[in-house]
Symmetry: C2
Subunit: 307 residues, 2 copies
Amino acid sequence: MAILLLLDQVDPTPLETYLKSHPDCPDVRIYPHVGCVDDIDTVVVWKHPQGVLNNFPNLKLIASYGAGVENILSDHALPKDVPITRFVDETLSDQMAEFVLAVILNHRLHITHYRELQAASVWRCGTFLPDRNVTILGMGELGSTTANLLNLNGYNIRGWSRSEKNIPGVISFFGDDQLHASIADADFIVCLLPLTPKTKHILNNELFNATKKGAFLINVGRGDHLHEDDLMDALYQEQLSGAFLDVFSTEPLPADHPFWRHPKIHMTPHISSPTDKQKVARQILDNYHRIKRGEPLLNQVNPKRSY
Amino acid sequence: MAILLLLDQVDPTPLETYLKSHPDCPDVRIYPHVGCVDDIDTVVVWKHPQGVLNNFPNLKLIASYGAGVENILSDHALPKDVPITRFVDETLSDQMAEFVLAVILNHRLHITHYRELQAASVWRCGTFLPDRNVTILGMGELGSTTANLLNLNGYNIRGWSRSEKNIPGVISFFGDDQLHASIADADFIVCLLPLTPKTKHILNNELFNATKKGAFLINVGRGDHLHEDDLMDALYQEQLSGAFLDVFSTEPLPADHPFWRHPKIHMTPHISSPTDKQKVARQILDNYHRIKRGEPLLNQVNPKRSY
């Protein structure tokens, strides 16, 4: 049997190397060099073309290369009854939490702004923003780790999620009814939701208008959480004071996209939670052998929840 | 009797307003409008001209407007036996700690660098620097608060000071003999020393060569801690990978200074610990009345230690 790597926009070579470094690794193939389709019992996927997963009659496991599985679940020809797993990494949560803290500190203390003043040889002092109210949308592994780190650093945290959470130091809001209440006092809105049909474009004008004027948006979830035109409006109307975006509907962001040159939008190229390929390899092989032994899988996705 | 404000490069008006808002405040005068010199029993000073403090025959208290007193102690005509106090503010320590954390995160996660890539419309991913070894030079109020915050955020802290300190989570180094050992493994060197004749130009080539290659310097002490030419050399030789400077020997930094345009030097205009004028006013009045009542002063300076 064999594992097929079906990765778009990701170099498969490092993952192949890490997989093969394990003595219990089966044959590894890289799409489109599939060989005999009957051999494939596991596919590792990232942004795969729709329909292709139906070509493998002996498929036992679909393993997402990352934490998000929206691309897998949106495949209309997804093989039924094949379990899906996603990559969950606590280090990744720690990195995400640090990234969000860095973005908040950078904004409150104007660090990047001073760099721009330096480039213009301008000596001009400002004061730190006192803003410490942060609402985190999405209180899964990434959201709760981020909440804990921010809490430790003296921020007031509200969290919003599908169902009620009990995290020390976090005021929990849940369900559609409480979304607007969760962000009413936010200085910072941090999106760490999974992308599902219900959360697509959740960062829209209706949401922005429910915050206090001058809130700052941080999107580290998925590009499609954000309604891009609504963000441009909210910045123009000064309903939002700025935005820090790490994810985009199309990546890399097209060269003619207005975000590149917007003075109130800071961008990073989807770096907030880099995948540790060594750990991906270990989790895939672990689940591969759990399937063989008929054991429960790690980080299996519930398609009804979309994560 | 009267309090004289003798502040250079600082607008005295807010401090005057806060002082006068207290019902027990005596007359407040602003240099050079001294009135009768016999009236002055307290001066509040910041970068005062040398010799001027000798003009007040009834002087009972010299209160520094900030935490540093090097300018007062370097006055060759300093009146003998007049107690000196400095401004100590825990909030200020918290702000300093946050500033240092922000600078470290900004460097490790390349936040400002991505802003520059954005300005050039370049989509290029990097990885976070794993660097977590921080040596703090100066373990007073500011240094120990900074150590605690960094410790809480997962950094490995070494502290160097005049005498041994016992701070949980901090490996303590002390005395001239241990200076180089304290920075041998440092990814970041943070200067939070008081400026004294012994610490002037302590950030010099000898020190830079005692660190591992590629260390990053953060100076939030005083400009004169840094030997500027030695920093330029160390950056050119790549012994240091970069520097973040908030303080300078001459402030504002002269327009023709090479730091402005140096690609490896990030600058901020002395903002890391902004003075809370309301608190300064309260501490000055408190000490003013302690003098009257013959009570021990708050935050009195020991001239032998220089702080």
